[in-house]
């Protein structure tokens, strides 16, 4: 795509608002509600109070001593897996649902891939007394069945999506269609830092608590900053929340995309590594597309990274060179998943396992480097798949 007019909500050329006109007033309302709330000490106190007393923040930093011994690095882990519901997703779900209440919207919809955002949203809706419906691709419903049960128990309606590739991208399409139809009563809680303006900015703000905490905790414990920060990137919400506090620090930041069966195979979900800019789900950003602008099917062992687009700010950070984006294959992620479990007693989500892959690569990071890895979620939801893929039945 040659040129796009710079307008509202851009990160360099990326971002913007490519949505049906019907939704624009709701996006405007969402933005102005956010700006008012964000500047309101009452809202901040409510948000921070619930993050502390309900979500369990701050999450700790764990020194990964045995991984450090094995790799010759000095590895520290930010424990977003210890949040209530088991992943970073609840930071954003909580913020957006509090805003929805302020806007007088009684119905919440969400899309989910791995189910973590769906569970987080269903949880917050139960807490705040909001009606909740979650769109989830049929394929993801079967590979993350436990999370479907959790959402139902929490009182949410899970709507399986059978269109297209039956994964996260199609769940997003279906949620957008619901929103366009019910926009007057409904708020759409997008789970990642993608989508039309103002979502990328608002999701980043709600997730930036990850990096702010981690930076302060690391400084307090080590008296200096790490050399390297690593996070996995699907749509990129944990990564942008983690990176943001470090953007002005003299540190290497690395985002790991889902390499699936390998970049050359074409079966992957790595738009920053192997895609090109285009418009998907309301914003201009790197995406996986063919020469005719049709969105390509993706593959990843992790449902949460199995998405052909990525948040607009990541596209900007890639082009500017501030963050390096690479990919890790399914096999590499599964090996890291096992290593991290056996060396540290940490069962990472398949998504988060991707962020550990560079630690185990020969010739990757400089020996002795101080590395901070964001463990964005726990892997309980993946145990059934893991038992099949890794032969854990006997």
């Amino acid at each position: 795509m040659a040129a796009v007019s710079p307008s509202l909500g851009r990160f360099g050329p990326y971002g913007g608002r490519y949505v049906p006109e019907t939704l624009v007033p709701a996006l405007d309302e969402f933005e102005s509600s956010f700006r008012r709330a964000w500047a309101d000490p009452g809202f901040q106190a409510e948000f921070e109070g619930l993050l502390r007393d309900y979500v369990g923040r701050p999450t700790p930093l764990t020194e990964a001593r045995r991984i450090s011994e094995r790799t010759g690095l000095q590895v520290t882990v930010k424990r977003e897996d210890l949040n209530h519901t088991g992943a970073h997703k609840i930071n954003n779900a909580l913020g957006q649902c509090l805003l929805a209440k302020r806007m007088g919207k009684s119905r919440i919809i969400a899309e989910t891939g791995a189910g973590q955002h769906g569970v987080a949203t269903a949880t917050v809706c139960a807490l705040l007394g909001l009606e909740c419906e979650v769109y989830m691709g049929e394929e993801d419903c079967s590979r993350q069945e436990l999370n479907v049960f959790r959402m139902r128990l929490l009182g949410a309606r899970v709507i399986p999506v059978s269109s297209g590739t039956r994964t996260l991208k199609d769940a997003l399409n279906e949620a957008m269609r619901d929103w366009v139809t019910n926009v007057r009563t409904t708020h759409y809680v997008i789970g990642t830092a993608a989508g039309p303006h103002p979502y990328p900015e608002i999701v980043r703000e709600f997730q930036s608590v990850i990096g702010r905490e981690a930076r302060a905790q690391y400084l307090e414990r080590h008296g200096r900053l790490p050399d390297v920060g690593i996070a996995c990137v699907g749509g990129g919400s944990n990564a942008i929340g983690f990176f943001h506090a470090f953007l002005n620090d003299p540190m290497d930041l690395i985002g790991i995309e889902a390499g699936g069966l390998g970049i050359p195979s074409g079966h992957h979900a790595a738009p920053l590594t192997a895609g090109s800019p285009g418009v998907l789900h309301g914003s201009y950003s790197y995406m996986m597309q063919d020469e005719d602008g049709q969105v390509l099917p993706t593959h990843s062992v992790s449902a949460g990274l199995d998405y052909p687009g990525v948040g607009a700010e990541h596209s900007y950070l890639k082009d500017s060179g501030r963050v390096t984006y690479r990919s890790a294959s399914d096999d590499e992620a599964l090996r890291a998943f096992q290593e991290v479990a056996q060396l540290e007693g940490l069962i990472a989500a398949f998504e988060s396992a991707h962020a550990f892959v560079p630690l185990f690569e020969r010739g990757g990071l400089s020996p002795g480097a101080r590395v901070l890895v964001n463990l964005s979620g726990r892997g309980d939801k993946d145990m059934e798949r893991a038992s099949t893929l890794l032969g854990l039945q006997s």
């Binding site: 019907t22 269609r177 597309q289 049709q294």
Partner: protein, 262 residues
Amino acid sequence: MRQLGEVFGRLREKREGALVLFVTAGDPPLAQLPAILETLATSGADVIEVGLPFSDPIADGPVIQASSQRALDRGTKTADVLAALRGFDLAPVVLMGYTNPMARRGLGRFALDAAGAGAAGTIVCDLTPDDAGDWREASREAGLDTVFLAAPTSTDERLDRVCEASTGFVYAVSRTGVTGAGHEAWDEARTLVGRIRARTDLPVCVGFGVSGPADVREVCSFADGAIIGSRLVTLLADRWRGGEGREEVAAWVREAKAAARR
């Protein structure tokens, strides 16, 4: 190629509503498109929207989603769609679709190619005037009309912008929702058309949920034209049968056009 201004001007003189019909390029197969366009135009379609299929059509309901998918499964490419339009001059053709396929090779190039194929204008479902500066410029240079959508949720300030950015006609979305047949009340659409008329002299056509003669008659009582999409897409998919169903489709179009005559 007859352009939009000329067609709407003529209809206005005759005090006649416009029948605007939508077909998906590539469903039925693209080789059939010229025959379908000819059938629609000679039976009474005043303007034809040719849908460029997209893999992720967020503004479309199940019928057009499935139709787009069938078109893509048949390997329909943008360049082939434009080639299939060439030479058709019985009614203005407006290309309707989504930003990404249109912008893939550059907006300027797409606008020139579309105009070169004889298209009169474009409707981009996921593009509002806010992000359309370059697109309007490219279209102006290529001589393409830019039809923007107005929605019942649009504020007055946004309607100003939609009317200012539109040329050819303004597309009034009848309700909050996606494309598809089935409509209960036209009050929302009637109100919206009134708000648009207060801002522009451009013709206003109403789409989303318009599916047959009764709807067309109702819509043309308060708007300049009625747009039918999903209902025709279904008819073509079920009954066109490689051209065997031409007469059945023609009869349906004639009936719809009769309802537009007020």
